[in-house]
């Protein structure tokens, strides 16, 4: 056994060549989205800094994975239609799910923690009463505020364009758009309109400067802007011309990110990556409800609720990538990320000219210091093995954040002044968490197949030995290097 282990590690020391990567390959070494800057040639880095698309020769790639029991397919092509010019078309990339489809993160568009409109105005009762009176059946008021309706999961298409006018300099842009609609109209004597709309527009741009300096190898700068839109509304006018309306929509919600990366080589084959990122966002939303009807369970009202969510994040990362032998690369990376978010919820009744009696302010903060260590090496002539170990040194509580909640009280709701506040502070630290990952690649000059291994498969052994079912991998990817295919087939 020892002998085989010895041979195994000896084989790792043979020739290694850094190949272009898929997301599957990165994940095999534990390189998640937080760490794509940390190691050279990570394919997913082109989405952060599209200037790097020019580094890729013509490829066609496809990935198939299981994520949270949902099968996911993605892929695309990168071509060089003209000299120094790259074009990428990619489909199947995910939208920012935390923002668009969730209600549990501080910056989620559906995180409200108070249910003022639904709770205080009985709009659902209003809605149902009118519907019953007119024989319609729309009754969708509550869906306006629900994150689980009208899910938007994939970007329709992502287009990358890169230009490398000189050997040392490249620039690129990346854009994508996606939307989802759930809309229903019913008309008999009255008309009911129910519309849910959600979209994400993302544009990123980057430049990369590749130096011939002895130490400093490259500097790159990237920025991205993401615009989120929610526009959910219910509208109905009854026979007397009186209106019931509610809507929930974004107030110019966006994400803005700027990143800077330096790559230095102190001694040959020993690279350091230094990354600095700043993100700021505003994912505020507004809910309004209006009723002019007086003979239903509640009185006429017109309320407006503001859900303000603003925050920022600073991330400073450092990695050490060392090609210890021609065929073996090891790396270690860490970053410190400091996040700070503030959410404010308040509301007014425009008919009675009163303010909400119980506004809420929530402050979130967190500091993360994860560490990632990994190895990638050639096992045999056509096989690459990779391994990653990640560990979170410092994490906030299990919810991911330290939280301070201010529950305000207004003794006099006719004035904006807050008279009393209760503060609840919730801090702590979750236990350290660790994770391992394994990956394999089979490659030929013209193609490469990557697997992100299923740890269960490696721990319990293949079916032949264990009699237990375990899938070999959670993700598989195939990449064709178009320019090399002819060479391969000879």
């Amino acid at each position: 056994m020892k002998r085989y282990l010895y041979i195994f590690f000896l084989l790792l020391l043979f020739v290694f060549s850094a190949l272009e990567a898929t997301k599957t390959r990165s994940l095999g070494a534990g390189i998640t989205g937080d760490f794509t800057w940390a190691v050279d040639d990570q394919f997913t880095y082109i989405y952060l800094n599209p200037a790097y698309v020019t580094n890729y020769s013509s490829i066609f790639f496809a990935e198939y994975s299981i994520e949270n029991s949902i099968d996911k397919k993605s892929g695309g092509v990168i071509l060089k239609p003209f000299e120094n010019f790259s074009l990428g078309i990619v489909s199947g990339l995910s939208v920012n799910d935390d923002v668009l489809n969730n209600d549990s993160y501080p910056r989620s568009l559906f995180k409200r923690d108070v249910n003022a409109i639904l709770g205080n105005t009985n709009i659902l009762l209003f809605n149902q009463a009118v519907i019953n009176a007119n024989g319609l059946s729309l009754a969708e008021g509550v869906a306006l505020f629900q994150n689980s309706r009208n899910i938007l999961d994939n970007r329709n298409l992502t287009v990358l364009i890169g230009w490398r006018p000189t050997k040392n300099f490249s620039i690129g842009v990346n854009s994508s758009y996606s939307y989802s609609i759930d809309s229903e109209v019913k008309t008999r004597q009255i008309s009911e309109n129910f519309d849910l709309f959600k979209s994400e527009l993302r544009v990123s741009a980057g430049l990369a400067y590749f130096l011939n300096d002895r130490y400093l190898k490259s500097i790159d700068l990237s920025t991205s802007y993401t615009r989120y839109v929610i526009d959910n509304s219910y509208d109905e006018t009854d026979l007397d011309g009186k209106r019931i309306m509610a809507n929930y929509k974004t107030s110019g919600a966006y994400d803005l990110s700027v990143g800077l990366r330096f790559v230095a080589e102190v001694i040959p084959k020993h690279r350091f990556h230094l990354s600095l990122n700043y993100d700021t966002y505003d994912t505020s939303t507004t809910g309004t409800a209006l009723s002019q009807i007086s003979n239903l369970p509640s009185f006429p009202f017109s309320v407006i609720e503001d859900y303000s969510r603003v925050g920022s994040k600073v991330n400073f990362g450092f990695s050490d990538q060392l090609q210890i032998l021609p065929n073996v690369m090891i790396f270690a990376a860490t970053f410190i990320e400091i996040s700070s978010f503030v959410n404010n919820y308040d509301g007014r009744d425009l008919v009675s000219l009163t303010y909400r009696p119980d506004p809420v302010k929530e402050e979130y903060s967190s500091t993360r210091i994860p560490i990632l260590m990994g190895l990638e090496g050639r096992l045999f002539k056509n096989w690459i093995f990779r391994f990653g170990f990640s560990h979170a040194i410092k994490t906030a509580k299990a919810s991911g954040f330290d939280t301070i909640t201010y529950n305000y009280s207004r003794a006099d709701t006719s004035v904006e002044t807050i008279t009393q506040e209760d503060i609840k502070e919730s801090t702590g630290s979750a236990g350290a968490s660790s994770n391992i990952s394994m990956g394999l690649s089979y490659f030929l000059p013209s193609l490469q197949i990557d697997w992100k291994g299923n740890i269960l498969f490696f721990s319990q052994g293949p079916f032949l030995l264990s009699g237990q079912s375990a899938q070999l991998a959670t993700s598989v990817a195939i990449t064709f290097y178009l320019s090399k295919l002819e060479e391969f087939t000879r």
Binding site: S74, N156, I181, I449, Q468
Partner: protein, 488 residues
Amino acid sequence: MIKLFVKALIIASSITGLRAGTVTLEKSLGIHDTPWMKTSTFSYATKNPTAWFELADQIIVDYDLLSVSGALIFKVSNSLLFSIFSGSPTNSSVLNSGIGPEGLFDFGGSNYITFFNSDTGNVLDSASTGTNLGNLPVRVNELGDPSFNLLQQENLAMALAYRKRKSTLGFQVAYGFSKNLEEFFGLAEETQELWKSQLRLNFGLKVENLSDLISFFDIALELKTFDLNNRYDGRVTTTTEKVSALVESAGAFEVQLMGRLGLKKSKSNFWIVYSSITAFDFSSTAQAKSSVQPFIIDTIDNFSRNGFNAALGISNRVKINKSVSFLIGSEARYSYNTLFYDGIDNGNSLLALQPLSGNYYSLKLPLILAFEAQVSKSWVFNLSLSQNIINIPQGEFVEELTEMFRSNQAIDRLTTLESSSRVVQGKSKTEMTLGLSWKISTIQIDWLTQLEIFREGPYFLSGESRKFSTSFGFRYSFSNLKDKIWKK
């Protein structure tokens, strides 16, 4: 072992050799719904018979775990070709569907006045159980049930194509039918007959080598007629009581005009521009008559379904080198369908309480990226990604329904209208297909593989049982054999 396994999965045969395709090959390239994107596709030849010349002197068979189809394409001379094939799919969304807006069996909700009326139950079936009738159970419900007497494949198709110099003319006829007859003779006489058929005629014209740039131009006209005739007749032999019911198509047809322009930008760069327009009428009627007490009825329901669709597409096939080719294509498809329902109760001189009209819209814009690579002398690997750039509405159509109410069923006037529309769009899912082709001498075998196998690993590793492929195609070229025989 693993190496062999992986290599066997990845490696493929010659793109250049894979000119002629099976349906399985089309599926693995993601172009089964848009076969115009590539020349020499089986499915496009079933639309434009002049394209059979591209598949001349071959036997092609496909098996997709449910059905088998096959063709013999025989070039009688350099200018004349004959093809005979069977098993091509019928227009199942019309003939075997109760889903709107195309299905002949789409009878909508519960407001219709004949035997589909859910308020009163199945009147005729109820009638039959209360009298001397009743020996053919659920005789009437089956008439309006699309899952009975399915017609999924054409029985036989034949094509003739004639080529003179640069021009080719083609004609094709295809027919499929299904029938189910049940009879009972006793105190009552009952007959239930279910009948479905589809007739398809195709006319094609192709002109080649029009200029250095225009490689070909082809145009085709396709005419389909759909015949549905499901009937039940019952008679009590001791009395004059009769019961009958009928569900039938009302002149249902589809006519499609399509054309392609093939542009050869260079030896390795080929463009195809495609356009088509289709008009259709998938109307059907349902009738019921009964003189059996107390279920005296005489009703007719008319379901009018019309519409058109138009498509415009472009594809670019680039041969990167002698082993690899890449295809990118897109097709914008717009559909507009209408539905109108009304009913008459002749026995009581009443009209339907709630007639209905509907409009259905759909716009699709799939983008297809396909890749073919010859990775060894005998193996070709095919991979495709497809995605609708525009989200498709759930149910594939935006539905706008207007329901009308008659307060007085004795007069035609409509008193109240209720309209509704619903659209849900949120999925822009990427689909992926992966295929392998193995070619040796004059034989080619294609597989459409299961992606899961590649991720999960084979059974001996993962313990997960999966079929290796979901579709299998076989092609044999007998041109050499024919030449030898003919020379003798």
